[in-house]
């Protein structure tokens, strides 16, 4: 492609170190995403600065000239010609002048407009996007005294996780008291959210509604109903089946059921955060649970597909 200035040889940018700085910035950005936000910010700044300098080098320091005056224009050293005379209303560029005032003003207007646009848009977009990711935390659920949980018996517990939000935070968990493990109470607390697309999983066995009891705790009313999930847990939506430890037996789910962390406080069973489970071996108090960070339904936690979900938003 011919150079528009009329030179016949291609102008290559001189060798420069800007690409190196840009690469270092990208690496810092990616490493920082895993390690720490400060490093990521430094990396982003480096990449931006060096990227800009590199791009400017590549595009080249082309001189910006006014459009040439009309061919029937008088001699270039004539004084300023009014616009009606048929030419530019400013003196034509003197040799050596590369950045006329009009171009500067035009660019300054556009730049200022862009700055104003950014200042107005970024906070608004931040308001739309960020609250979904900030200040996310899970609420504790007090399920009542542990004496309400007979050993070896599965109990369906429904509770309100966040009383200030009300009924929409109602959740269900399948709780089994496993007795004592090395002198400490052991519970299996399985979430009823199917790992396929999130339908509520049902117990595969009779639910003894006549033995339901309601306990008043600081989370409001908690209903506890004994159940005998002989066939494990089955999801009514698409037929996903899990065993009594929450491992996937059959169906479309990609992993087992999630579990709740729990603690015993003042003799009450208190459920904490949810976490996802890669595998459970053994049963009851002797179960060995391979835990991972909480993943959404349908997201693999092991195997090659797990590489598709490297990062999770804050829970």
């Amino acid at each position: 492609m011919e150079d528009p200035r009329g030179d016949t040889e291609r102008h290559q940018p001189p060798p420069s170190l800007w690409p190196v700085g840009f690469a270092v910035g990208i690496v810092c950005l990616l490493v920082g995403l895993v390690v720490s936000w400060a490093v990521a910010a430094v990396g982003a700044a480096l990449a931006a600065v060096f990227g800009f300098l590199w791009a400017r080098d590549v595009v080249g320091h082309r001189s910006v000239e006014l459009p040439a005056p009309a061919p029937d224009e008088p001699a270039p050293d004539a004084p300023a010609v009014p616009a009606q005379a048929g030419g530019a209303a400013m003196p034509p560029t003197q040799p050596g002048e590369r950045y006329p005032r009009s171009v500067f003003l035009e660019n300054a207007t556009l730049g200022l407009g862009a700055v104003i646009g950014v200042v107005v848009t970024v906070p608004a977009v931040g308001f739309a996007v960020l609250p979904a990711f900030l200040k996310q935390h899970q609420h504790e659920a007090d399920l009542g005294p542990i004496t309400d949980f007979p050993e070896g018996q599965f109990i369906v517990a429904t509770f309100i996780r966040d009383p200030s939000q009300g009924d929409i935070t109602r959740r269900t968990a399948y709780i089994r008291n496993n007795g004592l493990l090395k002198g400490v109470p052991s519970f299996t607390c399985i979430s009823n959210r199917c790992a396929h697309v999130g339908c509520p999983v049902q117990p595969g066995g009779p639910v003894f509604d006549n033995k339901k009891q309601t306990v008043k705790t600081k989370n409001g009313d908690v209903t506890l109903t004994p159940v005998l999930p002989a066939a494990g847990f089955i999801c009514p939506c698409h037929g996903g089946s899990y065993d009594q430890e929450g491992n996937r037996i059959a169906g479309p789910p990609v992993r087992g059921l999630d579990r709740y962390e729990f603690l015993i406080r003042d003799g009450h069973l208190v459920l904490g955060n949810l976490y996802s489970v890669a595998k459970v071996t053994g049963t009851g108090a002797n179960a060995k649970i391979t835990t991972v960070e909480l993943h959404g339904p349908g997201q693999h936690v092991d195997g090659p597909e797990a590489w598709l979900y490297p990062l999770q938003p804050p829970h």
């Binding site: 996007v129 609250p131 979904a132 990711f133 996310q136 899970q138 939000q165 009300g166 009924d167 929409i168 935070t169 697309v197 999130g198 339908c199 509520p200 939506c237 993943h295 959404g296 339904p297 349908g298 997201q299 598709l308 979900y309 490297p310 990062l311 999770q312 938003p313 804050p314 829970h315």
Partner: protein
């Protein structure tokens, strides 16, 4: 008598040119062998307009909020005069809109009406399809009954399984890590404000291109669209309303 009816139109036309524009749109040339299949696009537009109007009316009675939404729908259905009719039109109109959109898409595809110079119109149509489906998705949650809630749970979780950005997309749709009051407000805002705005903008672009590029003949046509036609005879009418369509523009091109 006719003068009395025409006078306001002439007044408007002289000051804005709008009447002439409407005439141009309504009386533009189309190929002689257009058939009923070509009505599917207008039918989709009509369904959308019905949704707009019924949606505005429903929004006067609907109360978004996890505790009030379902009760307000109940109120519309049973207490508000003809509320059952408007709600029913909106509910079924949504399905009609989606079905007509797919039929229209199929018609355009099978007629080859996406080829040069109408490629951009096809792309806008694809965007309209995605936006229309998203409108349906956000609207589905609003009654906030069991069907609405669990269908939205499943839809959001399916979005969450997209690689890499899936979990973040799901959090963005939900307005947090769990479905809550923020989810309903978010879906309502999208359904009422953002997505209809996008739909109106895209439909305007779509219609502009249809008028500018003209209608193409069916594939079995043996006349090349765009053949010269006799000019419309001028009608004897007083006033400044133009009797000829302005400009020729690109008439329908043959499909091959």
């Amino acid at each position: 008598m006719e003068q009395m009816a025409l006078y306001p139109l002439d007044w408007l036309e002289e000051r804005s040119g709008l009447v002439g524009g409407v005439r141009y749109f309504l009386f533009r040339k189309v190929p002689g062998d257009t058939n009923w299949f070509h009505t599917l696009g207008s039918a989709t537009l009509t369904a959308f307009l019905v949704q707009l109007v019924t949606g505005v009316i429903l929004a006067m009675y609907y109360k978004p909020g996890t505790n009030t939404a379902h009760a307000s729908i109940d109120h519309i259905q049973h207490d508000v005069t003809l509320g059952w009719l408007v709600r029913g039109m909106h509910k079924w109109g949504a399905s009609v809109f989606i079905i007509l959109m797919f039929l229209h898409m199929g018609r355009v595809f099978l007629f080859g009406a996406y080829k040069y110079p109408r490629e951009l119109n096809w792309i806008i149509g694809v965007l309209l399809l995605a936006t229309g489906l998203f409108e349906g998705l956000t609207g589905y949650l609003l009654p906030f009954d069991q069907t609405a809630y669990w269908a939205s749970v499943v839809a959001i979780n399916i979005n969450g399984t997209a690689p890499f950005v899936g979990p973040y997309l799901a959090s963005l749709l939900r307005g947090g890590a769990e479905i809550g009051p923020d989810t309903l407000s978010r879906f309502y805002s999208l359904h009422m404000l953002l997505v209809p705005g996008a739909l109106i903008g895209l439909i305007t672009l779509h219609l502009y291109l249809v008028v500018r590029l003209g209608v193409s003949s069916p594939p079995w046509s043996d006349e090349a669209a765009g053949d010269p036609r006799e000019p419309e005879p001028p009608t004897a009418r007083a006033g400044l309303v133009q009797t000829r369509p302005r400009g020729a523009s690109l008439r329908g091109r043959p499909t091959e």
